[in-house]
């Protein structure tokens, strides 16, 4: 492109010859008022605000539709032009609601900033506004035509940028021409892709995202992808889903690997907070993000390993207590950062809850082992069967920093009569023994107390260990249970009975041997504003549910050795200011021990955070990020697709329940390549919106 010289308002500018006057001016940090122009869209010269005068040319020209020519002398701020602009503005405002105060776009509105810049008030012209109801009929966008100035940016974004072509100027009932969905249809009828480009380019409050779809106060890159912002590890979900769709599986797994060293485990057991926030769930079920992750991890050929950055040895030593996902994640990143890392695990196997908490039918051991192998291959030393009871002794061994990542490995028994009987067990210990294959066979009736996911782990494990009749007994109604719907469904299929709305107050026992749970029926239960439980029982509803074994699944907590002498809060968490650093010590925290029982993905995120903090404390730069996947050049074109909104969520196959309960083999299969691709195609690709240029307001220009 050639460079030519033009003069605008006395400023001599060297500009690209192909540009319009407006584009050239804005690129040179010189402001010319404009509204229908958007840097990413073709210009249509509709709003009448970018008018300029050019020496030697009669009349005024639209700066957006007039190309620069060498030696042009242009005036943009004459009183004549400002008068014309004000008239254009007044005409727009006469047809626009006066009340900005209820508009979420307030102070982010280009129209409002033009009112400031041009000094326009509404009071001169007769109002031409015919109020129309705000359209909230689609689940993701709010369309308020009372705030529309017919600039047509949304029409162009949908048609020219995305190729979806849902919006157009339409004749309304009262013969006015306004922007609407083609044929006055609903957006879904016209196969909207819900990419949000129209909302992104709208200069006013006419098109908005529904409240709550995005989390406010996050930076755009993450905030505009709700799946990514909901993920504690902030894995770039839209990017790897797109790569799966394109068949680039090795790139996809590299994207996940950039944020988490346990992708395959997550593919099996992640709580998938991303799916809760997925915008597609408003149309027909969220993307199956977890299954796609599992699929990508299953294809992993380890090509990303070549790109992992390893820093030179620092000569520093870090001790990590606990080999769960938090501890091993921190270990991996600290080792990469050049430190010598030793992980101490008191059990005979590494992996924490991944190997001894979550049952193998949900998370196959070989998946975890392969991921731990990558970490040990990197040089991390794991010492199993090694319990640390004395931190001082550990320090004397020459460790510069200690990371405590012991998780929450102690089940809690409620202090009720009979709780200590010989055949009453605790959730975590029971699952651990089952995982280590040192649990006795079970038979007869097992009653599990509690209604969360761990209760299902216990119940389904008990079934696999031979119990003939397994019941889950919980306070909540079926709908109010905290266990995930998948667990409930799979548990029921395996013959687990769920007894809802029931409170237990004692263990019926005989000579230190439990024979059942003493129960009452619950009329209602809730939590008050102080999070105190409000329980109302049905009078005279006492009854006994007989049992040969009873398992408490009523919570768990960290097991902090008495000799550690660390500040404890909330009864059983180690105190820290920011969930990472223990005050006035060389001790750091990661995982459940710092914030209470949560998820694998949060443990991984916490491990990364701890690795950064420890690296900084050891004099490193705290930069643990790896770029493992190639930078992606995303297109902006989506095109029309009549089948897009109808595509149903793909489900992987499951083993049948009768086979399932005979052992600990994985229950859920992996999606096929074909199904994974189909599933990935359902993604709205919310992140494409980030690439749309954000226009600057007048106040941000140098010359205005």
């Amino acid at each position: 492109m050639k460079t030519v010289t033009i003069t605008i308002d006395g400023h001599v500018l060297a500009v690209d010859s192909g540009d319009s006057i407006l584009k050239a001016a804005l690129k040179s940090d010189l402001y010319i008022p404009h509204l229908c122009h958007h840097p990413d869209l073709p210009d249509i010269s509709a709003c009448g605000l970018c008018v300029v005068e050019i020496e030697g040319i009669e009349g005024v020209k639209s700066a957006c539709s007039t190309a620069v020519e060498a030696n042009m002398i242009i005036c943009t701020k004459t009183e004549k032009l400002n008068k014309m602009r004000r008239l254009s503005m007044e005409l727009m405002l006469a047809n626009h609601v006066d009340d900005c105060t209820t508009c979420p776009k307030y102070l982010k509105c280009e129209l409002q900033s033009l009112i400031q810049y041009l000094g326009v008030s509404t009071a001169r012209l007769k109002r031409t506004l015919n109020a129309v109801p705000v359209n909230t009929s689609n689940p993701l966008f709010v369309r308020d035509l009372n705030r529309c100035v017919s600039c047509g940016r949304c029409v162009r974004a949908c048609r020219d940028l995305r190729g979806v072509d849902v919006l157009d100027y339409q004749v309304m009932e009262d013969d006015r021409i306004m922007v609407d969905v083609r044929q006055h249809h609903r957006m879904t009828e016209e196969n909207c892709r819900f990419c949000g480009a129209c909302v992104e380019v709208c200069p006013t409050g006419a098109l908005q995202d529904k409240e709550g779809v995005f989390t406010a106060d996050l930076n755009r890159e993450i905030g505009l992808s709700p799946c990514r912002s909901a993920c504690p590890g902030q894995i770039n979900v839209p990017k790897y889903i797109r790569l799966i769709k394109e068949g680039q599986y090795q790139e996809a797994i590299a994207v996940i690997r950039e944020r988490a060293p346990f992708p395959h485990s997550l593919g099996y057991v992640c709580m998938a907070f991303c799916e809760d926030q997925c915008r597609r769930k408003e149309i027909n079920e969220a993307l199956s993000v977890r299954e796609l992750k599992k699929f990508a991890a299953a294809q992993d050929q380890g090509l990303w390993k070549d790109k992992v950055g390893i820093k030179t040895a620092s000569g520093k030593k870090v001790a990590i207590i606990g080999s769960g996902p938090a501890g091993l994640t921190a270990a991996y990143y600290l080792k990469k950062s050049g430190h010598e890392v030793t992980v101490f695990e008191k059990l005979p196997v590494a992996g924490g809850m991944l190997t001894t908490g979550i049952p193998a039918y949900r998370l196959p051991r070989q998946a975890v082992q392969a991921e731990i192998q990558v970490i040990t291959d990197s040089g991390v030393k794991i010492l199993t069967d090694t319990e640390i009871t004395d931190l001082e002794a550990l320090k004397k061994l020459g460790y510069d920093k200690i990371l405590i990542a012991i998780g929450a490995g102690q089940g809690t028994r409620l202090p009720i009569d009979g709780a200590d009987c010989d055949n009453v067990l605790e959730n975590i210990a029971f699952l651990k023994n089952a995982a280590l294959e040192i649990s006795p066979k079970l038979d007869g009736r097992v009653v599990v107390l509690g209604g969360g996911n761990v209760a299902f782990d216990c119940a389904r494990t008990a079934r696999r260990l031979g119990a003939t009749e397994v019941s889950i007994l919980c306070l909540e109604s079926r709908e109010g249970m905290t266990a995930s719907p998948d667990e409930i469904e799979e548990g029921l299929a395996e013959g687990i009975q769920i007894i809802n709305d029931t409170s237990f107050y004692a263990i019926e026992n005989n000579d230190n041997h439990a024979t059942g749970a003493n129960c009452r029926k619950v009329e209602s239960f809730s939590f008050d504003e102080n999070r105190k439980m409000q329980l109302k029982l049905v009078p005279d509803s006492e009854h006994v549910i007989p049992a040969d074994t009873i398992i408490f699944a009523t919570g768990q907590r960290p097991e902090i050795p008495a000799g550690w002498d660390l500040p404890v809060i909330g009864g059983n968490l180690i105190a820290s200011a920011d969930e990472v650093k223990v005050k006035d010590s060389s001790v750091f925290l990661a995982g459940d021990v710092s914030y209470g029982t949560h998820s694998v993905i949060r443990a991984i995120a916490s491990g990364r955070k701890a690795a950064v903090a420890i690296d900084l404390a050891l004099g490193g730069d705290g930069k643990i990020e790896d770029v493992l996947a190639a930078e992606e050049v995303t297109g902006s074109w989506l095109g029309r697709d009549e089948t897009f909104l109808k595509k149903q969520r793909e489900q992987p196959a499951q083993e049948n329940p009768e086979t399932r309960i005979t052992g600990f083999a994985a229950v859920t299969d992996c999606l096929s390549a074909n199904n994974a691709c189909k599933e990935a195609e359902r993604c709205f690709q919310c992140d494409l919106r980030v690439a749309i240029t954000k226009p600057k307001f007048w106040a941000s220009y140098g010359i205005k």
């Binding site: 400002n82 008068k83 004000r86 008239l87 007044e90 609601v97 006066d98 009340d99 900005c100 105060t101 209820t102 508009c103 979420p104 776009k105 307030y106 102070l107 982010k108 409002q112 900033s113 009112i115 400031q116 810049y117 041009l118 000094g119 326009v120 008030s121 509404t122 009071a123 001169r124 012209l125 109002r127 015919n130 109020a131 129309v132 109801p133 106060d217 930076n219 755009r220 307001f697 007048w698 106040a699 941000s700 205005k704």
Partner: protein, 484 residues
Amino acid sequence: MREFETDVIVVGGGAAGLAAAITAAENGAEVTILEKANTTGGCANMAMGLLGVETKLQKERLIGITREQAYEKFMDYTHWRSDAKLVKKYIDQSAGTIEWLQDMGVEFALPSKYFPGSEATWHIVQPKSGKPGLRAAATMIKAMTERAEELGVKIMLETPVKGLIKEDGEIIGAAAKDKEGDLEIFGGAVIITTGGFGDSPEFIEKYTPYEWGKDLYSYRIPGLTGDGIQMAWDAGAGKDYMDMELVFFAPNTGGYAPIELPFRQPNVFVNLDGQRFYNEAVVENPVFSVNAISRQKNRVAFSIVDDKIMKKYEENGFDLINVVTSSMDMNDFKQEMEEHLKNGSDVFYVADSLEELAEKTGINKDGLIAGIAQYNDMCQTGDADFNKELKYMTPLDGSKFYALKFAPSAYGSLGGIRINDMTEVVDDSLNTIPGLYAAGTDANSVCNPDYVFVLPGNTLGFAVNSGRMAGKNAVTYIKEALAE
């Protein structure tokens, strides 16, 4: 973490913040404004004008109110509940502030009353085109923004402040966040000007007698979340009188919408029992009216007129006018009425009889019929209940009845951060927090207990004037600290 240094940090780039920044820069300070939105002006973009007393504009128009009279009126009205020294400084400075703005290129249309019983202290900004109306002050914001930049003030847009940085009891900076992440700005003084808590239902419920959406339908200008007040409190600031800047509107119609025109008149206002509850001639004072409405059941009232009154207004104009609605007439009303009838409405009702009106509005039927009958009688004999002047006593005996529901609303909030007459933030024991200043609506506890409507222009007036004071005081403080 990126770190910056400056002399004066201003949190919020609205009218008060810009005034503070310009003044501090005029006094030689390096100033940074941290503004969370994409543009400056905050809630002042919706404002119209500000208070001035003894301005040239007033003198030219023979508006004779003096500083002494205004001060007395202000203090009488507030029963000396507000900081008398601060009010004195504010009123005395106000004329100079108008000139200061004029020197920046701001033009004023006229010093105006709000309603006939108020003083003409409201200096409404003249937009570049047309008559002054809603949003007129946006024009002033542009002039102030340009003046600030001309003086070298650094305006950081889209940079919300997360908290103040305190060291050894002194405020030394602010922690903020922008597109690239966290940053810390250190300076000699911090001025908080974030415009109050009008957009925070939590603050409203906690610190005022109202609950938003239930008995209060106030403007919720996005961004006014009380964040500045909270960060001042977190840094040890005391709490001063807090309330809403109350007025009354038909809920969810936007405020002063044309649909209200014939109903914001001195006819008949009844409560849910169908009973009158005040002298409707007071309707021109929105503050007094909302206080009366707030005492009624469910905090709602209905203004009722009949077709005869509608016709009268159409032919002869309204009984009462105020500045905000002076550009609208019955044609605007009729247009909006059509929309309400077409789209359905939960505030506007039409009926062929009082019985039907009672059914539609939920007003007690017997009470309404008896109440209106009694009122119609009193139109002959005089208002024995509230002494309303006879000229406003028109019987409701037409063949069509119209009612509009009114409820408490507000432009925003008032007060929160306790300051002294030097605009220094003080704790509950009145000890200053060195380095911390507040101005504008966050610290507007001079309107106590009510917005001083008799001297209109107080919100923007206090914002700009207290902002100027804070800018000057902050520079003096920094210079003294350097001299030590």
